[in-house]
């Protein structure tokens, strides 16, 4: 048994060597496919991550009527804090709001300074957990209208962002499946050519009494090696792209999303290698069988 296995491996390696060019093409195509798959996974993983954090962090600003007394404001804050979906409530006094405003719009500094501390109203900054557009809507409805002059939660922006996300997902899915089909086709095709290239040899093997298994086995090993090599290259490529992106993003937006751009975790990487191997072995299997069906 081990001797047979040895023979299969020897024949596979020999074929890899003798058809180095075609095998390199196969491995390259598998690498490209797997890389695209990896990029797709990465984007999905990171977008999900971001949407998760963002969902958890949904903010509402509720502006008090200027005539609500300060004690009442604290009571309202405590009531809201008791809601189960509320993570955090922060009271922002009128003074604090104006300081923030000054920082944000330095052009108006002088103007605001002249106007005194009542320029901007006091407000509550409310953080909701696991909220979606509709949930926020519902929550805003529960707030008492007598206490607040206005409630601001950028609903339109949320909707637009979600529209944009779904556009991205659509484009990603369309392009992704097109590219995947093209890649599968190419892998099948190159492996088929490796087989075709050795048509004569395989026919003669059959004529001297080789079983289908004898002929197929080395091709499967060959496909496995191609697949693993391809996945390895894809992994390296993915790491390089990730590195480049993180470094460049750090330079451009000092604080923003950098920290959240994560590399694919272990199980996903394992999936890449499984996908590459399946691609290699599957394409080899189909190609050899398609060929053997025609030979007697």
């Amino acid at each position: 048994m081990t001797q047979r296995l040895q023979l299969v491996f020897r024949r596979a390696l020999r074929s890899l060597w003798e058809n180095a060019y075609l095998n390199a093409v196969s491995a390259g195509v598998i690498a490209a496919t797997t890389l695209l798959f990896g990029v797709y996974l990465s984007v999905q993983f990171n977008v999900n991550n971001m949407v998760d954090t963002w969902d958890k962090d949904v903010h509402l600003s509720a502006y008090f009527h200027p005539d609500v007394p300060e004690q009442r404001r604290f009571n309202v804050r405590d009531e809201i804090a008791a809601h189960p979906e509320v993570i955090k409530v922060r009271y922002v006094s009128s003074d604090a709001a104006n300081l923030w405003m000054q920082a944000r719009m330095p052009a108006m500094e002088t103007v605001l300074a002249e106007l005194g501390s009542d320029t901007l109203p006091a407000s509550l900054e409310i953080s909701l957990s696991a909220a979606r557009a509709n949930d926020i809507d519902a929550f805003a409805g529960t707030l008492s209208v007598t206490d607040f002059s206005d409630i601001d939660y950028g609903q339109e922006w949320i909707e637009k962002f979600q529209g944009f996300l779904s556009l991205l997902k659509l484009l990603g899915a369309v392009m992704g499946s097109l590219i995947l089909i093209a890649a599968l086709f190419l892998v099948m095709n190159t492996v088929h050519l490796v087989v075709y290239n050795r048509k004569n040899e395989l026919e003669i093997q059959k004529l001297v009494g080789a079983t289908d298994g004898y002929i197929t086995a080395p091709f499967l090993v060959e496909g496995l090696i191609q697949g693993l090599l391809g996945a390895m290259f894809a992994f390296i490529g993915l790491a390089a792209v990730h590195r480049l992106l993180v470094a460049r993003l750090k330079d451009t937006f000092e604080l923003a999303i950098t920290a959240e751009l994560q590399f694919l975790p272990g199980p996903y990487i394992a999936m890449l290698f499984v996908a590459g191997s399946l691609l290699g072995v599957g394409a080899a299997f189909l190609a050899v069988n398609r060929f053997l069906a025609k030979v007697t």
Binding site: Q205, A210, T296
Partner: protein
């Protein structure tokens, strides 16, 4: 060993063989002869299952080759040595590997393969050519490699299609001696040939075909 009952083979309009009934005992030696296009190669091809008869019944060692499944076919062929009219050597494998292939598919050990290969290359007059590639051999040398591969695993049936067409007289006689020796050890041998000189020198039973019909047997 070989029994044909009213076997016929048509390729479209071409009747390659018509109503052939013949019986060959185990250990027999016979020639298949007749003019070009008479159906000699077609008969041999049916015997090793490369094509099926369109009519009749063909038994090889008790097995009906027309009914043989794809899966069983290799096991039939392992008992048959074949010298193809066009040699069918693998150009990208050395002579030694080509000859050894018939043993490798049986799962023989590397050691046994090496010993048998150099033995049969000696027999066909190509000692030391085991590491050459077929395209660097002359026509006659390639033909002898084909003979070597056919006999390397001591088959119970040997089918040789025009095995001396590219050989000079002396070499042709040597190859015939080899086939006779194998036959004497019990192998059933069938040789398709045109060479009347050879058939007279080694007189055996003749199956003569003409336009697909068996006219002498």
């Amino acid at each position: 060993m070989i029994r044909a009952y009213h076997v016929a083979k048509r390729y479209g309009d071409v009747h390659a063989l018509r109503d052939v009934t013949v019986k060959l005992a185990k250990g027999e030696f016979c020639y298949v002869t007749g003019p070009s296009g008479a159906g000699k190669t077609t008969l041999l091809k049916m015997l090793y299952g490369s094509t099926q008869p369109t009519e009749g019944k063909l038994l090889v060692g008790g097995i009906d080759v027309a009914r043989l499944s794809r899966r069983r076919l290799p096991y039939l062929r392992r008992n048959i040595g074949i010298v193809f009219q066009d040699f069918k050597l693998i150009d990208s494998r050395t002579v030694g590997e080509n000859v050894g292939l018939a043993l490798e598919v049986l799962g023989s050990s590397r050691d046994l393969i090496n010993r048998r290969v150099s033995a049969v290359l000696n027999i066909v007059g190509l000692p030391g050519r085991g590491s050459d590639y077929p395209p660097t051999l002359s026509g006659g040398e390639q033909q002898r490699v084909a003979v070597a591969r056919a006999i390397v695993n001591d088959p119970s049936i040997l089918l040789a299609d025009e095995p001396t067409g590219n050989l000079d007289g002396a070499m042709a006689i040597e190859v015939m001696e080899i086939l006779r020796a194998i036959n004497l050890r019990g192998t059933t041998v069938m040789v398709a040939t045109h060479d009347t000189g050879l058939m007279n020198r080694f007189p055996y039973r003749k199956l003569r075909f003409e336009a697909g019909r068996l006219v002498e047997s």
